[in-house]
């Protein structure tokens, strides 16, 4: 299972600070597609990055169960 941390507006959309996908492995592109289908509101925000093990991930990167995965909506610190 892929566990996904949700922050900011992503936490509001999912209505939880975590989500999960019942897969052992998934690409970032497929994770994004899966989440956007599961939660339509993701398509109405400005987009989001995916972080894997606390580093920004590329679209073709492969995520494995056990990786620390997070949805990173547009940041607004400072």
């Amino acid at each position: 299972m892929i566990n996904i941390k949700c922050f900011g507006i992503a936490k509001e959309i999912v209505d939880s600070d975590k989500a999960s996908i019942e897969r052992q492995t998934i690409s970032v592109t497929d994770l994004r597609q899966h989440m956007n289908e599961q939660y339509k509101a993701f398509t109405q925000i400005k987009g989001y990055m995916v972080a894997v093990n606390q580093e920004y991930a590329t679209d073709d990167q492969i995520i494995n169960a056990g990786d620390e995965v997070a949805i990173i909506p547009p940041v607004s610190g400072g």
Partner: protein, 141 residues
Amino acid sequence: MNNSINVIISEDALSIDQVYQNAVHESCGGICLFVGTVRNHNKGKEVTHLDFETYTPMAVKEMKKIAEQAIEKFGVQQVSIFHRSGYVGIKDIAVIIAVSSVHRDACFEACQYAIDTLKETVPIWKKEHLEDGSYWVGARP
């Protein structure tokens, strides 16, 4: 010269003096600090306060990267980056960046680079609370 980096995300009020003490160095002639405070208005609306959510371990990593890049790009001495989490009121401090350098131009450039980059890459989110609602800044088109 031994460079040093200090990076902190804090639930408590930030102390300019603490950040300054972390950055001051006897070989340096100047320190540039940027202090980001909460404005009472944004886009014509009155703001009551902010709430910062942080992905803390990744945010700390990204802040360290910024400090390292600032040292590498601008040849500065010390870089300290402190950011608040949680409730932050009007005029309160959201972020402090301090950079020391032997000559002063470098500390200005590095400090500006650090705050510009922080706003682009560090996983921290600001919820702006207005009198009639609240929203996540920058999230919607």
